[in-house]
Symmetry: C2
Subunit: 243 residues, 2 copies
């Protein structure tokens, strides 16, 4: 795959028109591509000097385990996402990262990343934008857990994933492959798996969406947007700001 | 106040040893200092081309209003915080920002910010770290709303605020001035004001903490840390990474 078609470049390109030298640096980052099996942590909470990764294929989730044993999934990462960036900058991982399915990812060392920022400040700005976009996603999840009911939370999450996947060419207008289980959804949305199961059934019976055999299909997109109050503005996919 | 003693420089200095040229740029950012009255939005959700601000004095909160009329406070910002950074990078504000009390803040234009990154890439890295730190704070709030009970949420938030305020010289070991109301706490923690009131009373009666007349006092710090599972690692105040 040429670097121009890599999910990360498609994503960063939504914000910064990347020059040749910038593309070359990103191409270097895409070396050291490795395969990671599902359910084995790529990074664990408390790990010192962890690496960052550019996710090329497959989904991972990041989460924190509470002393009570409970788990809160902080987010799902998809191809093109920079994962573990905060852990690299912080020298210690403040969360765990685990593949949901077999994934392919390129390891990026902190030294190389900071070196790249030094020679290509626009790249630092692009990564800052990408980190801001990740933060906006966590903020929306916070709003969901604080002030949205269970059906709204599920609908909002699926609409967001659809928009993010579309940007990197992995979703059609009304459907996408979704490898997460009902347990993942429960741990991401502050609900129980039984509650998730009931909500998914209700959404299907109401003709809004179907989640079956790893595929999410929007049966009535307009009503889903209306129900969840989804406004894609926070994803900021409007075209390059830095030319 | 010399620029070295400004809260922002103290905060960024926790991550990057700032050079003379970098301090000069930050000093420029601190000009255009303005006063903002409480309860009047500095930035409103949906505003296009908003400015960013460096908060010098007083607290603000950032929030989103849902169509139901409910409000979710995304975070409290204190002196030294860069506010509205994401809105600047996104060209449209995805949340509102409102002073909780009279505040002083310096406006930073997007052009000047991006220009500074270009000439001082280390500054871009420092701001990226600062943004990552903000994200870590939102993540902890998400964990609270997803998997912590009401008392744990309140204790965790106060311990976090204390650590952040200490970094900029605005808290002692066991107490700090806290201008937020019980309504603010409710909207930040996904609870009702009545629930917050009851939890604060219980925490006080249990000898854990007292929140009275705008001052939070930790009556038993160890037990509070134990109760909330607070681990300050996610705030990453360990000393400069970039020398």
């Amino acid at each position: 795959m040429s670097i121009q078609n890599s999910p990360l470049v498609r994503k960063l390109g939504a914000y910064v028109s990347l020059s040749e030298p910038e593309l070359e640096i990103l191409a270097k980052f895409h070396k050291n591509r490795r395969t990671f099996a599902d359910k084995i942590e790529m990074v664990y909470e408390g790990q010192s000097s962890p690496s960052a990764f550019i996710l090329a294929k497959g989904w991972v989730c990041s989460y924190k385990i509470l002393r009570s044993g409970g788990r809160q999934i902080v987010g799902f990462q998809i191809p093109g996402d920079f994962i573990g960036l905060r852990s690299v900058l912080f020298r210690t991982a403040d969360h765990s990262i685990e593949p949901i399915q077999k994934v392919e990812a390129s390891e990026v060392k902190v030294k190389d990343l900071l070196g790249a920022f030094q020679t290509c400040p626009r790249l630092a700005t692009a990564v800052l934008w990408s980190a801001s976009s990740d933060e906006a996603i966590v903020v929306e999840r916070l709003v969901s857990l604080g002030r949205r009911d269970a059906a709204e939370r599920v609908a909002h999450l699926f609409l967001e994933l659809s928009a993010r996947l579309k940007l990197v060419g992995l979703a059609s207008a009304t459907s996408f492959e979704c490898p997460v289980s009902q347990y993942h959804l429960a741990d991401a949305l502050g609900l129980s798996a039984i509650h998730i199961n009931r909500v998914l059934r209700e959404l299907r019976e109401d003709g809004l969406l179907t989640f079956r055999r790893g595929v999410v299909t929007f049966d009535d997109l307009d009503r889903l947007v209306e129900l969840s109050g989804f406004d894609r503005a926070y994803l900021d996919y409007e075209g390059p700001m830095l030319n």
